[in-house]
């Protein structure tokens, strides 16, 4: 493991504002990660000196701290485990600990990937679906979720000659911008900040009409209209906007998730293209329901295969 100090900070290509040093960037680290600047700094130091294994070791007490002192996250995690496995609260609590640890690993890996991408091996399945769709130049809606390491998928696209717009809700922006900027390879990735307004829809269509990729998560409702679909046995709200967007722009849509599969190993899967259509004169939300259901079935498949890589740490089944 050779995560040299220089490697962490040095830009790896010519994209100018993208990197500086990771430490300098971390001033803006205000995300939900408890511990703030100091905690982040310690992780960077450990990563530099001891490498990935050292940082993972540090996750052991940190995850334990979260189990004890982050009741909101703990509750959300335990609810997930209850629905996933229907086990006792004690077992769910132990799973919650491993859950936080697994989340930490992906966060640590992010820094590692940004610093030293060659070291990581990414297995792909279905990348050809994405490349074929991009070549058609009709735009592409890439639909992921808060699972595994979505930015791994982004790094695939960054090497291609295509503009990728990552949709995020206002407020998430600063956090995600920082995350993306740290990955200096993401030359053509830009952010599309949305507030749920009608103008957002027109902006997103415009990007698709230019043949660009619009990437977003299909497990956040973003305050827009939703449909309730059973997920792990109970109805949860999923957004309809991604499918309506693809229909309006006549763009293909692809589900894609990436998972951490082991030390320096990620797997990335893209499902075959679908072409959502918005039919008239049925119940208002119903024409799009089938697309949300199909997404949820793939999402369920993912969390059955990689149960510890579900990263929605809030009461997922209660959002409207």
């Amino acid at each position: 493991m050779k995560l040299q100090g220089e490697d962490l900070g040095k830009p790896r290509d010519e994209s100018p504002p993208a990197s500086k040093t990771v430490l300098a960037k971390s001033h803006a680290w205000t995300g939900r990660s408890g511990g703030g600047y100091f905690g982040y700094w310690i992780f960077i130091m450990v990563l530099r000196v001891l490498g990935l294994w050292g940082a993972y070791l540090l996750l052991v007490p940190v995850s334990f701290y979260f189990v004890l002192f982050a009741p909101g996250y703990r509750k959300a995690s335990m609810e997930y485990w209850r629905r996933q496995y229907q086990r006792s609260p004690l077992l769910c609590l132990i799973y919650a600990y491993r859950h936080f640890y697994s989340f930490g690993q992906v966060l640590v890996d992010r820094v590692g990937i940004a610093a030293n991408p060659e070291r990581f091996q990414v297995e792909e399945e279905g990348l050809s679906h994405i490349l074929a769709a991009i070549n058609e130049k009709k735009g592409l809606v890439l639909l992921g979720a808060h699972v595994g390491g979505w930015e791994v998928a982004m790094s695939f696209l960054a090497k291609r000659n295509v503009v990728v717009n990552v949709v995020m809700f206002e407020g998430e922006e600063a956090k995600v911008r920082q995350l993306l900027e740290k990955n200096v390879r993401l030359g053509q990735v830009q952010l599309l900040s949305v507030s749920g307004s009608p103008e957002d829809s027109l902006t997103a269509i415009a990007a698709l009409k230019r043949g660009e990729v619009v990437a977003m998560h299909g497990d956040r409702t973003l305050g827009g209209r939703t449909v309730k679909v059973p997920f792990l046995g109970a109805p949860a709200a999923f957004p309809l906007w991604p499918y309506a967007l693809a229909a309006a722009a006549k763009s293909p849509l692809i589900h894609t998730f990436a998972a951490r599969k082991g030390m320096y190993r990620y797997g990335f899967k893209a499902w075959p293209v679908i072409h959502p259509r918005l039919e008239r004169s049925e119940g208002k939300n119903e024409p799009l329901r089938e697309y949300a259901e199909s997404f949820v079935s793939h999402l369920e498949e993912f969390v059955k295969d990689f149960p510890f890589q579900w990263f929605n740490f809030y009461s997922f089944w209660k959002q409207e």
Binding site: S197, S201, A206, K209, L278, R280
Partner: protein, 85 residues
């Protein structure tokens, strides 16, 4: 133009399932916010509707944004497009 506006209002109410009759729609009211109150999904339905019912595909979204100010704005956009095609 008046026929087109009438037709548009009727289709808007039917497709977007608005809680009002076509006659109650103010031709010059804004489509979004305090006017008709269309949301981010409605506007996508509107784009699909223009394509399907009027054969108008909005390629340039800057034009689209100008058209989507009111029912009259859309009607004028359709008329201009039909005239130029």
């Amino acid at each position: 133009m008046e026929d087109l506006i009438k037709d548009l209002k009727r289709r808007l109410v039917a497709n977007l399932q608005l809680d009002r009759s076509p006659d109650e729609i103010d031709t010059d009211a804004p489509l979004f916010d305090e006017g008709l109150g269309l949301d981010s999904l409605d506007v996508l339905e509107l784009v699909v509707m223009l394509d399907r019912d009027y054969g108008i595909e909005i390629v340039n979204m800057d034009e689209g944004k100008k058209a989507f100010v009111s029912v009259r704005g859309i009607a004028e956009y359709i008329t201009a497009k039909k005239a130029s095609s």
